[in-house]
């Protein structure tokens, strides 16, 4: 027995959408404050160094940022569900090293590349199984797999970089397409894909919803663990993409690469306005956050600020940014 649709007597009372300008909506987006921050920091850098605002330097920044920005995409998805992924740095190194080793062993290029990407995704899915189905805390699970991935990479290579890669492989790290460097292009494509996933598919909606209230999602008949598993898979995959680009750029598989990359990725996500408890954030905010870190790095280098001091400045800016965004959210 199937109930008919509710009768539409009260439909006449349809109300008009309250008018809301695009600017108001934009101001409320989590990416707004980070963007203001990026603009402010950029302006400061322009005044501080006359070498900053050159097209070569800006392209430099974009390329330098690309690795962290791509890792931060997966991290954004994970953090939106209320989780965290500490294993991205070692997973990046491990999958890049695998691709390098396979190439050196003469495995056909596409297979070697796929193997690296799949390894990253598999590691992520492994994290996801522990978190989503075995209900273990993400910080512990990924701390453990962080060590495992790093150890596996070092075991496999005895700690030595894998070099002697075929010449064509440098395309991903150093090549260009339509005049755009491949790492930058890859970053743009990954962000477009993530934007569509998060804003225009049911999966994206569930990712936000899980971070907002996982129990409500479950009780409304959506299988939440499935999507939690997925975000860790995405995180492993984006780490592997970053590993591919880095390995190609360096033309060697570095088992020790990516130390503290997880912190940079988390910093980009948080600077981008996402709530570390989940449910709130924007993928474009993360891009802005990664850019902000890149501009800071680059500008401080141009000003010949010591790396020790840079570290302190970056930490202070992250604290300030989070303070401002909390004030904003609590209003």
């Amino acid at each position: 027995m199937q109930p008919q649709a509710l009768n539409n007597d009260s439909l006449k009372a349809t109300k008009a959408k309250s008018p809301q300008g695009w600017f108001t909506r934009f101001m409320r987006s989590p990416a707004f404050y980070p963007l203001v921050g990026l603009i402010v920091v950029t302006i400061c850098m322009i005044f501080a160094s006359d070498k900053f605002l050159t097209s070569a330097n800006l392209e430099n920044i974009a390329r330098q940022v690309s690795i962290n920005a791509i890792i931060a995409v997966g991290m954004t998805c994970v953090i939106l569900t209320g989780g965290i992924d500490l294993s991205v740095g070692p997973v990046m190194a491990l999958s890049g090293t695998l691709t390098a080793a396979l190439l050196v062993a003469g495995v056909p290029g596409p297979i070697a590349i796929m193997a690296g990407l799949l390894l990253g995704a598999a590691f992520g899915i492994g994290n996801g199984i522990f978190v989503a189905y075995l209900k273990m805390p993400p910080i512990i699970v990924t701390l453990a797999t962080m060590g495992i991935a790093r150890g596996l990479g070092l075991m496999y290579t005895n700690g030595y970089p894998v070099s002697g890669l075929p010449e064509w492989f440098s395309f991903f790290g150093r090549g260009e397409f339509l005049g755009i460097q491949i790492p930058i292009l890859a970053m743009v494509l990954v962000y477009i894909a993530a934007f569509i996933l998060l804003q225009h598919t049911p999966i994206g909606r569930y990712i936000y919803a899980i971070g907002g209230n996982e129990e409500a999602v479950r009780l409304s008949g959506v299988r939440a663990p499935r999507y939690k598993l997925l975000v860790y898979g995405i995180s492993g995959l984006t780490a592997a993409v970053a590993g591919l680009l880095l390995t190609s750029r360096l033309m060697s598989g570095q088992p020790n690469a990516g130390v503290s990359f997880e912190l940079d990725a988390i910093a980009a996500v948080v600077l981008g306005g996402a709530a570390i408890a989940g449910g709130r954030g924007a993928i474009l905010g993360t891009l802005v956050g990664a850019m902000l870190l890149g501009v800071l790095n680059n500008g401080l280098n141009l000003m010949s600020v010591s790396p020790y001091v840079q570290s302190v400045i970056k930490g202070a800016i992250i604290l300030l940014a989070i303070f401002v965004s909390r004030k904003h959210h609590n209003r």
Partner: protein, 500 residues
């Protein structure tokens, strides 16, 4: 100022964005009395307490304590003034014991800065002796019963030398025997000169222990009376402002039809009670019983939201496993959870996103992308069908009233092929007008063939709405009442009878 008046509130008002929570409240508490503060959910009792506790100072009006005008800007202000509050949600640290909780933040230390444990323990046991309660001082409070935890809260307040103790719905989670013990403690404190403000929904309790009653309605004074000068009917009328009976839509005459949902057997635990029930199309089946009698657990077990030991269920005559809420949804069973905020809504989401949460498959095309215009259209339709009042479908659900929030969760299931709805405390914490709307909506749904299970702790609602009532007692359905046998006395009799 009279000598025997302890606390006077004059013309106290408080507003929140969009709501006037308190409108020029006057309240006078006499020294040494037990004063009941009565009112429906949303009448302003909690706001009033938060003002007295210094948590949210009033916008206007004056508070006079012991003849001195006071303003409580922080919790410490009111503690210093001798006001102690036991909130509904306890503020105890679960892994600390009673003594440690009582002295939390005010630990007694020796000259080396080390804790004087023995002294604090002695003080704590003196406090419990004063209450006439014995409890294990070394046991983490998490392992004490709810009633015992409440006594710890009271002792904690007394340790601060309060002369005004405010108890916010202390009996809501207590068994009748525990409540009786609490009342003894209250009378004991009264005899020691402590003034008590007692908040409760249960009118019989108020007649049991209180001296005077102040009633609030919609944030305004609705009257003050001595207990011996009034009866339950007058109080109810003061609280709701009208007679209760008019609230419920008429019950239809139902023909017997094959059940929508046939739970032939379900038990949650091994060796636990085994239950069975049926839900027919067009009927409202009540799950009545005391808090903790296993109504919600059974419903969640049927839906697969919590694990069960064994389960044999048919939907529309077909055997199904209902292993999780997702499969229940596929079989057309929806849930309006007990707690809107923690189980129903994604509070950061808009109305649209909350409604379409489990409907997104309907709007996504071949590429898996959401068709936003279709989603918006469907949302607007549902909002007007259920008369959800909000500026737009993009409004965040946190800004809605309880009744509208509840309708948002209901709307989620109406956009489906659902035929069975489980409503867990559907009218908790919403105002009288919104309640009536929910009741009308429920009848509209049953008229269309839905079967509804309504879990409710409010007897009038069970009696007024249900076509049949399953009465729960200690995890078992002990009786299914029908037709003229559905009345408060019958329900309470079966709900409180001792189970063999």
């Amino acid at each position: 100022m009279q000598q025997n008046t302890l606390l006077v509130l004059e013309q106290v008002s408080k507003s929140f964005p969009g709501v006037k929570a308190l409108k020029q409240i006057n309240l006078s508490i006499e020294r040494g009395e037990i004063h009941a503060l009565l009112g429906e959910n949303g009448a302003g009792k909690s706001t009033l307490i938060k003002i007295l506790g210094g948590i949210q100072p009033q916008d206007e009006g004056t508070i006079t304590l012991n003849g001195v005008t006071k303003r409580f800007n922080s919790y410490n202000d009111s503690v210093e003034a001798g006001i102690g509050i036991v909130f509904q949600e306890f503020s105890l640290i679960p892994y600390l014991n009673a003594t440690e909780n009582i002295f939390l933040g005010r630990e007694k230390t020796n000259r080396w800065g080390l804790l004087r444990k023995q002294e604090m323990r002695t003080k704590a046991s003196q406090l419990f002796a004063r209450l006439g309660v014995e409890l294990d001082l070394d046991c983490p409070v998490a392992r004490l019963s709810v009633a015992e935890q409440q006594f710890v809260e009271i002792a904690k307040a007394l340790a601060l030398d309060v002369n005004l103790l405010i108890l916010d719905e202390p009996t809501a989670t207590l068994t009748p025997a525990e409540s009786e013990l609490l009342f003894q403690i209250m009378r004991e404190l009264k005899s020691q000169g402590v003034t008590i403000i007692f908040i409760s929904h249960h009118l019989d309790e108020i007649f049991d222990v209180c001296d005077r009653i102040s009633v609030l309605r919609d944030g305004a004074n609705a009257g003050v009376t001595r207990v011996d000068e009034c009866d339950i009917d007058t109080l109810v009328e003061m609280m709701v402002g009208r007679k209760l009976e008019s609230n419920f839509p008429p019950k239809p005459v139902l023909e017997i039809r094959p059940p929508l949902l046939d739970v032939r057997e379900i038990s949650l635990h091994r060796n636990g009670p085994s239950n069975s029930f049926q839900l027919r199309p067009g009927e409202i089946l009540g799950f009545a019983g005391l808090v903790g009698s296993g109504r919600t657990e059974l419903a969640l077990g049927v839906l697969g939201a919590i694990p069960t030991h064994s389960k044999d269920v048919s939907v529309n005559g077909v055997s199904v496993s209902l292993k999780d809420p997702a499969e229940s949804l596929q079989q057309g069973i929806g849930l309006l959870p007990e707690s809107r905020k923690s189980e129903g809504l994604i509070t950061d989401f808009s109305i649209r996103e909350n409604i379409s949460l489990n409907n997104l498959g309907k709007y996504s095309g071949a590429l898996g992308l959401i068709n936003h215009s279709q989603e918006n259209k469907q949302t607007d339709e549902l909002m007007s069908q259920l008369s959800i009042k909000a500026p737009s479908s993009e409004s965040r659900v946190v800004n809605l009233s309880g009744g509208n929030q509840q309708k948002v969760v209901i709307a989620r299931w109406l956009n489906h092929h659902c035929t069975v709805l489980v409503f867990d405390e559907p009218t908790r914490g919403i105002d009288v007008g919104a309640k009536a709307e929910i009741y009308t909506l429920m009848r509209r749904l049953t008229a269309q063939g839905f079967g509804i299970i309504m879990i409710s702790s409010e007897l009038p609602e069970i009696v007024g709405m249900c076509d049949r009532v399953a009465v729960f007692n200690k995890g078992s359905i002990v009786k299914v009442l029908e037709a003229e046998f559905i009345n408060s006395e019958e329900v309470m009799r079966h709900a409180t009878a001792s189970v063999k």
